[in-house]
Symmetry: C2
Subunit: 221 residues, 2 copies
Amino acid sequence: MHSFTEENYLKIIYHLSQADTGTVQTNAIANGMNTKAASVTDMLKKLADKQLIDYIKYQGVTLTEKGKATAIKVIRKHRLWEVFLVDKLKFRWDEVHDIAEELEHINSPILVERLDDFLGFPKRDPHGDPIPDRDGNFEPSVNIHLHEMPQGKTGIIIGVSDHSSPFLIHLQKLGLTIGVEIEITGITDYDGSVELLMNTKQLNVSKKVAQHILVNLQETI
Amino acid sequence: MHSFTEENYLKIIYHLSQADTGTVQTNAIANGMNTKAASVTDMLKKLADKQLIDYIKYQGVTLTEKGKATAIKVIRKHRLWEVFLVDKLKFRWDEVHDIAEELEHINSPILVERLDDFLGFPKRDPHGDPIPDRDGNFEPSVNIHLHEMPQGKTGIIIGVSDHSSPFLIHLQKLGLTIGVEIEITGITDYDGSVELLMNTKQLNVSKKVAQHILVNLQETI
DNA sequence: TAAAATTTTTAGATTTATCTAAATTTATAA
DNA sequence: TTATAAATTTAGATAAATCTAAAAATTTTA
Ligand SMILES: [Mn+2]
Ligand SMILES: [Mn+2]
Ligand SMILES: [Mn+2]
Ligand SMILES: [Mn+2]
């Protein structure tokens, strides 16, 4: 089996390799793991020995099939536990990540399958991210800016591309916070502002605001 | 916070100190932890430094109040997770211990309280052992031999005091295995054999058999 | 393309939890 | 009450994951 640390490295490498294609750099991993580049190099040698990554000195790494499957299994557990915490234990969406970060390392394949069943085989976690099935397959999440959303489809706010305080405070006031489900109902010709439905409430936000809200399009329910 | 290893040591020391009163010996801990006496000595120094145990060289150890409270918190989590696995995820009673051994180390006080609530504040785990409440209080379990059980009360088989193969095979045939709930319905005057109800089934076992079955008396439901 | 800046790796330590083998202390028994 | 046995501790190593500082490789810039 793999240590917690190894699993966390594989997960970070997986996420980084999704972000931009190509190899993943040592410094990016160090940043994601909150550790130093030298420590990462040590671990990369170990993961390469175990055939979990392909590693060429100074050239960065890619996950092997085995490494990728391992990373996806951990991500599956993480997201299932998040669903459990929100759906069954009544946690808020913003409280569950750190606990899931621990629960994801519990090592019992049968537990994962039973949990999945208990939760009704959810397709998405509370943040709108897809949950891989037992074979590791999942519908990729489609993250776009709010102003590019097609009308009629619903989406979940998953982040912002402007992290300034004034912007975040504005969003807070509007109620447009991470996890909120929205639907575009129209675009105003005059100023490009976006009309949307938040729960049952009708809202109008400026084009500038819409351009900085990241939305996770819901492919299916 | 305490490492998994430290928590496991505290738990073993707690259980050993319940078994027989007085101090707990190095070798007993080594045996319980599946490790060597030399390793235990190292850890005892560390736990003493942290004020979790009182330790006198060559004289064995006792838990401090702080150490005892920590051990009971771990035991509370262990038993709550076992209830979750059996009640919600449909595991059998004999499948849950090893998974709970991992889950007990998840560190989130609020998670424990939410889980307890979700499960309906159970008083006993699937093996009949008491679950400490959030303050660490619990009704001690009362383990007696089957032939000493008062009539009318129900109990759960928690062990045997004869570990020989012929005896265990005999019990297996009768269905009298660990975790099974039973109730004494009468004692036969003629040979001292015991009549009991197992689920809905009526059984008669010899006095010799009854003397070697350990039962956990259910104080409350 | 050569110098400067950045990234990555190596070298050498540290911390935690182990181990084996040897020394020490305590308990048991002749 | 000494000798023997058992339990416990110390000494010295090892493996995993980390660190800092220095060296090496790569990329960028002028
Ligand atoms: Mn998460
Ligand atoms: Mn994690
Ligand atoms: Mn258990
Ligand atoms: Mn444990």
